[in-house]
């Protein structure tokens, strides 16, 4: 049975907006070139370097205290040439790091490199995470205003009906009130019954606090980088741990200001979550090697279609060209994924009735399209008109 806490979406929305606001105001106070440097650093350097500790390459924090800026520029643009010129420092660094050559970055301008160095020199900020967690704890527990209104309306309605029954002598009003009451009961009863088995907003607690917001939202990783079978297969595929390790081999801890506010997880908490991943993958983050002792992650499935309904992701993603968000909602804003759509048959059919089939440029539809326009003079047909409303297309 589902024993999960369903977070109020509104309260989380408020909290996330507050978080954004806080971060934004904080970032305003940072230096101009260091800020530009940060994004350059993240884009080009972060795969192999950290500021405060060794990764593939050396730690870069306060690098200007150790190296000349000119040397750095020469090294970054073409370290191979620098080594070839016989620069002793360059050769020493190269040998210290297992003779693994660093990629050359000829595309970076001098100004870019100065920005990166400025970012590396800047004092890493530690306070942000703690501050935000504090805000989250005192997070506003407001109800949405629309809920308030409906409750008030209901209360007034109930009051009127009670008054009619016990205070009024008007027979007509009593009958009218009874009818209203019955209609209401029927309406709410029907709605309640129809919602049995509909798990909209289902938000289970996952074994690893994986935030889609951090990955897909903040870091803009394409959905299909991880859910790669969505374009090929009927299932979108939960990524196997080796896909996570493509990046997390290098990202063993989050940056200081990363946090999942809604769950009260700051850097310390999230780094622990990454360790869970390492445990699953059997990755020894000290020796930087696989131990071979693996343990699959038992994710809790969020979207459960009944067995008798056939759904194929590739049909919708590759052929139909739908965005994942169409059904899954703003996943890139979700720290914890919840079921955004009701996933009822009515919901499927409604979309099939509205959506036009994307026929242009697909050789499969060429003849069908020509025949249709020749015979019926139509240019566009909906999915439902192409048979997307037939029982047998999804139930077999």
């Amino acid at each position: 049975m589902k024993s999960v806490k369903k977070h109020s979406r509104i309260s989380r929305l408020v909290m996330t907006s507050l978080t954004f606001l806080f971060l934004f105001t904080f970032n305003l106070s940072a230096q101009g070139d260091a800020k530009a440097g940060k994004s350059l650093f993240n884009a080009n350097c972060a795969a192999c370097h950290k500021l405060d500790k060794k990764l593939v390459g050396p730690a870069l924090g306060k690098i200007s205290e150790r190296r000349e800026l000119a040397w750095l520029k020469a090294w970054i643009k073409d370290n191979n040439a620098l080594r070839a010129s016989g620069d002793a420092d360059a050769i020493a660094v190269f040998e210290e790091y297992n003779s693994m050559p660093m990629s050359a970055f000829p595309q970076l301008s001098d100004a870019d490199i100065e920005n990166i160095v400025a970012y590396a020199d800047a004092d890493p900020v530690k306070k942000a995470g703690a501050a935000v967690v504090a805000t989250a704890d005192t997070g506003v527990q407001e109800k949405g205003s629309s809920d308030w209104i409906s409750y008030v309306v209901l209360l007034i309605l109930a009051g009127i009906i009670l008054w009619v029954y016990f205070k009024s002598d008007n027979g007509f009003l009593k009958i009218a009130a009874t009818i209203v009451l019955l209609f209401n009961i029927a309406y709410f009863g029907f709605t309640a019954l129809m919602n049995i088995g509909v798990d909209q907003d289902y938000q289970p607690v996952q074994p690893i606090a994986f935030s889609h917001k951090i990955h897909a939202g903040d870091n803009k990783i394409d959905c299909q980088y991880c859910h790669s079978s969505a374009k090929n297969s009927k299932t979108s595929g939960i990524p196997s741990v080796n896909v996570c390790m493509n990046c997390h081999k290098n990202i063993s801890e989050v940056s200081d200001d990363t946090q999942i506010a809604s769950m009260g997880l700051g850097k310390a908490g999230l780094d622990k979550e990454i360790q869970k991943l390492y445990k699953a993958a059997g990755w020894d983050s000290e020796k930087l090697e696989y131990t071979g002792e693996t343990e699959p992650v038992k994710w809790v499935r969020v979207h459960n279609l009944p067995d008798f309904a056939y759904y194929n992701h590739s049909q919708h993603v590759t052929v139909g060209g739908l965005k994942c968000q169409k059904c899954h909602g703003p996943v890139e804003e979700m720290d914890e994924v919840y079921q955004y759509s009701p996933l009822t048959m009515g919901w499927c059919i409604d979309c099939h009735k509205e959506t036009k089939v994307k026929m242009e440029g697909n050789g499969y539809y060429k003849n069908i399209h020509e025949d249709l326009s020749k015979k019926y003079g139509v240019d566009k047909v909906t999915v439902a008109q192409m048979g997307g409303k037939e029982c047998g297309k999804c139930h077999y």
Binding site: M1, K2, L193, I196, G197, D199, P204, S229, N232, S233, K234, T235, G237, I238, P239, S240, V241, N242, V243, A280, A281, G282, T294, E295, P296, V297, K298, W299, V300, R301, N304, P306, D307, F308, A309, Y310, N312, S314, Q315, T318, V319, G361, N362, G363, Y364, Y365, K366, N367, I368, D371, L372, K375, M386, G387, E390, C391, G392, K393, H395, Y396
Partner: protein, 1022 residues
């Protein structure tokens, strides 16, 4: 012509006074629903302690409880791989080319795997592969939970290293003493394994390799070896034949390893206007005989003389022989053979070297181009003399060790007791087996071998055609290949895979790519014709004449279409597959002619639920009595002969439901399948599970249409007026074809796909591969013997078998004459004559996907509806089980789930088994109790084809749908063709326009999407 032909399905139907047949014609559900049992009796109702109030309370409570329970769904886990294998994408099937070679069936196949599990076997058409029912079902045998899970010594578990160590020590001891080690195998036909055995022999001294086939072709091999110098079987390309005479050879069945149906039907393509003429001389009604143009019924001993007489008539020689009752027919056959010359061929299944020599001589006399002595077959290698010698040696204590592999002699030998006694005297007995079968349980060491889907291997099915077997799943159990062990015991540390690869590189591939060969599954080389020595036919004939004794009753043992030699007897799909001729499942039985049955007092009364009962007989062969064999009357059985299928009566490593029938191998004395026998009626009633009688055709004989090749080729005949007559109706006082009248508005079906399935009744041999393929693809449940008996079988696709007898003028006159005497005599006459040697037609029937479907209009909840691609769709989750649709279906193709067949211990078949469930197709729902189901035109497969085309941005290629749908892709002969009639290049378009095309019961106006092609027989005597 259809008009003067009567079709019937059981001898009972020939009896016009049978009230049961009349009743069966009226009812869809033959047994009454038992409402009266609990509502009819007023007293019990009143006595019942449950008041109406209580009843309502229970209803209320259970409804509330059910709704509350439904509020919360279960938490489901999604567990991805830690490291995803590169070739696996969840949800996408992978196909691997492989080869089955289990000693009985040999075929190049494609294995469909999903998420690393094999779930379907398809013929590898690029490697000229074909599949029969057993090959199709072999994927389920992989998931047999009664397989041997680890090595055992004397019944106790042991580790592989200990077992190998002990065996190696014993072998070394035997080598020192110079004692003989015998490797006893079934037919391997594997070049690398034979090389391995030779290496093993070199390492271990006195080693002999004995090959043993339960259904032996030793006589043919001996004969061929004598004439051509190679121990092999001649191959036949029947597509090249214009006259085929078969004497007791069931070449559309398992004869010499089977696989001839493709070339046979290729030579009988009606559209070309030419068909080979096929004359079958046999005693049992076989699959081949039922497809023959002319079937001559002779007892086995008479068949031998028929062969000699045929030889004499063709060559003009005068070999010693005897007259047979059908000599006129044989002379006629000889005339046709001579006329056809090199396009003629004679094949025989007589298990006698001399008979086989005469057949070879006859083909050489005809200079037959059909018989191929270049690409000779290796699908049977057993040597009877070696086997009998081995048993004698074992009993004499002359054998030190017996290592058996791919054979189960304790079950399949008639003198099994001798074998077991001999085995007890052997110092080391090792049985490699997939389950703890009869042999494995008496051997000291029972070593589990992997299923062919888990193993490496190679096969040379015919000379020059090398096939590879590759694993498609990790071994399910702690198994080791026979070959790996042999390598170990020969002192090699090489793995068999490396050995196989190296031996292919050196012996087969000739420098070409191993990976390519593995991908294709087949590698072919050129082979040379073998030179023939002269044959002493006179000596052969006189020896035959001297040896052939015959008897009042002769028994022919045969392998049934479903179970074969019995190694897959624990496979529920095969047990549930009805025999193509008797339509009986879950059984073997003595087949007997109507005349003999009447004389010996056997009968098959039909019950009012359509089921058949039978008597028991004790069958005696040379002092051995097989007790309580059920007796079934088989129309077309030669008088004075019996038939009995082997492969049943197995008890070891078998689920209790599957332990059916009697072990007929006990009667195959001296490995001979023909025996003089006697029967004796004993008490008791046997309940058969026959399928077709429940579905009566209610006198609508136009369901099956057939004609002769002469009429087909006669351009003066209008098919629509003659052999493919369309029912006429009156419209505005004019006679018009029924197809021109329609109650319904027609819909535009010209845009997009529109699926049709064409079934060529001429090409369908009735082999049943499509039935099993349908089970595998669509998760069709197995329901067991009792449910089949009462007409609740779940086959979405059934192959109806109709007997027919030409009511020619003479027989009609005869009947009239007899009618004037008395009713009983006329009944007897009606019954007797047609049943003597009827013609047979097979008709696969599945949901006809009517464009104007009667089922759709009566469903109260719209659970069955029509798709624009032509399918009649069935939404199981919507069905409430009223069964109106089945009642309204003119074709009786809808199947009702009377019970929950999955995870129900009452139906302990593959769906109630953790291993067996692994074969389920994840794209198709497993239906629950109380819903109707039926053929879906494999909508999951057609949708997948369409989706693949959409993703690639291309049109669907012609033939793509045909290869995706289970039944049509499994069909070896091309009888089933599936396709899109809106795609001009699709073969189905031609089929739809063919003059042979008709729809079942066209007069009803259902406008079916399943098309039939009129059966054509080459009845003309040349």
């Amino acid at each position: 012509m259809a008009s003067n032909r009567k079709y019937w399905k059981s001898v009972e139907e020939l009896n016009e006074n049978s009230s049961i047949v009349a009743k069966l014609e009226e009812n869809e559900f033959v047994s009454d629903i038992a409402t009266d049992e609990f509502l009819g009796d007023k007293e019990t109702l009143e006595e019942s302690s449950t008041s109406r109030r209580d009843f309502l309370k229970y209803v209320g409570f259970s409804t509330a409880a059910a709704s509350l329970a439904a509020c919360e769904g279960p938490v489901r886990k999604s567990i991805p791989y830690v490291i995803k294998p590169e070739e696996i994408t969840p949800g996408i099937a992978n196909y691997y080319a492989s080869t089955i070679a289990d000693g009985y069936d040999f075929a190049n196949v494609l294995v469909k795997t999903r998420e690393g599990r094999p779930i379907l076997i398809k013929p590898n058409k690029l490697a000229n592969g074909s599949t029969n029912a057993r090959v199709q079902a072999s994927v389920l045998s992989l998931y047999d939970s009664l397989r041997l899970t680890g090595p055992k010594v004397n019944g106790n578990a042991i580790s592989w290293s200990d077992a190998n160590g002990q065996i190696k020590a014993t072998l070394a001891e035997l080598k020192n003493k110079g004692e003989k080690v015998v490797v006893l195998t079934g037919t391997l036909a594997s070049p690398s394994t034979e090389k391995l055995i030779a290496n093993f022999a070199a390492a271990n001294g006195n080693v002999q390799h004995v090959q043993y086939d339960a259904l032996s072709e030793s006589a043919t091999l001996d004969a061929f070896q004598e004439v051509y110098g190679t121990r092999a079987l001649p191959n036949y390309d029947f597509s090249d034949a214009s006259v085929i005479v078969s004497i007791g050879a069931d070449f559309l069945g398992d004869w010499q390893g089977g696989g001839f149906e493709k070339s046979y039907t290729a030579g009988r393509q009606v559209a070309t206007g030419k068909m080979s003429r096929h004359i079958q001389i046999e005693s049992n009604m076989s699959l081949t005989g039922s497809n023959a143009d002319k079937r001559i019924v002779l007892k086995p001993s008479e068949q031998i003389f028929a062969l000699i007489n045929l030889y004499n008539a063709v060559t003009g020689e005068n070999l010693p022989s005897k007259a047979t009752p059908k000599d006129a027919d044989i002379k006629n056959a000889a005339k046709q053979l001579k006329k056809a010359g090199s396009k003629a061929v004679v094949v025989t299944g007589i298990q006698d070297k001399n008979a086989q020599l005469i057949a070879l001589a006859l083909n050489n006399a005809l200079a037959s181009s059909v018989m191929d002595t270049a690409a000779v077959k290796y699908t049977r290698q057993g040597n009877d003399a070696d086997v009998q010698q081995l048993i004698a040696d074992m009993k004499a204590g002359k054998v030190g060790a017996v290592i058996s592999y791919g054979a189960n002699p304790v079950y399949t030998l008639a003198n099994s007791a001798d074998f077991v006694a001999g085995l007890k005297k052997v110092k080391l007995s090792v049985a490699f087996a997939s389950s703890e079968d009869e042999t494995a349980s008496v051997a000291q060491y029972a070593l589990p071998t992997p299923h062919y889907l888990e193993a490496w291997g190679d096969v040379q099915i015919s000379a020059g055609s090398y096939s590879l077997t590759q694993p498609t799943i990790n071994p399910l159990f702690d198994t080791k290949q026979f070959q790996d062990c042999l390598l170990d015991w020969s002192g090699s540390s090489e793995a068999y895979y490396d050995f196989l690869k190296n031996s292919w590189a050196s012996d087969v591939l000739n420098g070409t790519s191993w990976n390519q060969a593995l991908h294709d599954g087949l590698f072919t080389t050129k082979v040379e014709e073998l030179a023939a020595k002269s044959i002493d036919v006179a000596a052969a004939a006189s020896a035959l004449k001297a040896e052939t004794k015959g008897g009042a009753f002769e028994l022919t043992l045969f392998a049934s279409t479903a179970i074969g030699d019995g190694q897959q007897a624990n496979n529920p799909w095969l047990q549930e597959l009805p025999d193509p001729l008797t339509r009986a499942a879950w059984d073997n039985y003595l087949t007997i002619s109507q005349a003999d049955a009447t004389a010996l007092g056997f009968s098959n009364p039909i019950q009012d639920n359509g089921a058949i009962n039978g008597d028991y007989a004790n069958v005696t062969v040379g002092g051995t009595i097989l007790e309580n064999v059920p007796v079934l009357i088989q129309p077309g059985q030669a008088k004075g002969s019996f038939g009995l299928a082997v492969g049943y009566g197995k008890t070891k490593a078998m689920k209790s439901e599957m332990q059916v029938g009697v072990n007929a191998y006990t009667l195959a004395k001296g490995l001979k399948l023909v025996q003089v026998a006697s029967v004796e009626k004993v008490g008791g009633t046997h309940k058969f599970a026959c399928e077709q009688l429940q579905h009566t055709i209610a006198g609508r004989y136009e369901i099956l249409k057939e004609t002769s090749l002469t009429s087909y080729n006669d351009s003066s005949l209008d098919p629509k007026e003659s052999w493919n007559q369309v029912t006429k109706v009156s419209l505005k006082h004019e006679e018009v074809s029924v197809n021109d009248v329609d109650l319904w508005d027609d819909q535009d079906r010209s845009i997009g796909h529109h699926f049709n399935l064409s079934i060529d009744l001429s090409d369908c041999t009735g082999c049943g591969a499509c039935v099993v393929a349908c089970h595998a693809e669509n998760n069709v449940p197995v329901v067991g013997k009792h449910e089949v008996r009462v007409g609740r079988d779940m086959h979405w696709l059934r192959i109806d078998r109709y007997y027919s007898s030409e009511l020619d003028a003479t027989s009609e006159e005869r009947t009239e004459n007899v009618n004037t005497t008395s009713d009983s005599v006329s009944d007897y006459y009606n019954l007797e004559v047609p049943a003597e040697n009827p013609q047979v037609a097979f008709q696969p029937v599945m949901c006809q996907h009517c464009n104007h479907a009667p089922c759709e209009t009566v469903c109260p909840v719209a659970a069955t509806s029509h798709g624009r691609q032509g399918q009649n769709q069935m939404a199981y989750n919507r069905c409430v089980g009223t069964r109106y649709c089945a009642n309204n279906c003119p074709y009786r193709v809808r199947r009702f789930n009377w019970f929950k067949y999955n995870e129900n211990s009452e139906f302990d078949f593959n769906m109630n088994d953790d291993y067996g469930k692994m074969v389920l197709n994840p794209d198709v729902v497993v239906r629950s109790r109380g819903v109707m189901e039926k053929c879906s035109f494999c909508i999951q497969a057609t949708q997948q084809v369409i989706l693949n085309a959409k993703k690639d941005g291309r049109k669907v290629a012609p033939g793509e749908f045909n290869d995706a749908v289970a039944c049509s892709s499994a069909c070896t002969t091309g009888a089933l063709v599936f396709g899109d009639v809106n795609e001009e290049k699709d073969e189905i378009v031609e089929k739809k326009a063919d003059k042979r095309m008709y729809r079942l019961l066209e007069a009803i106006g259902t406008d079916n999407n399943v098309l039939y092609q009129v059966k054509v027989r080459n009845t003309e005597e040349a």
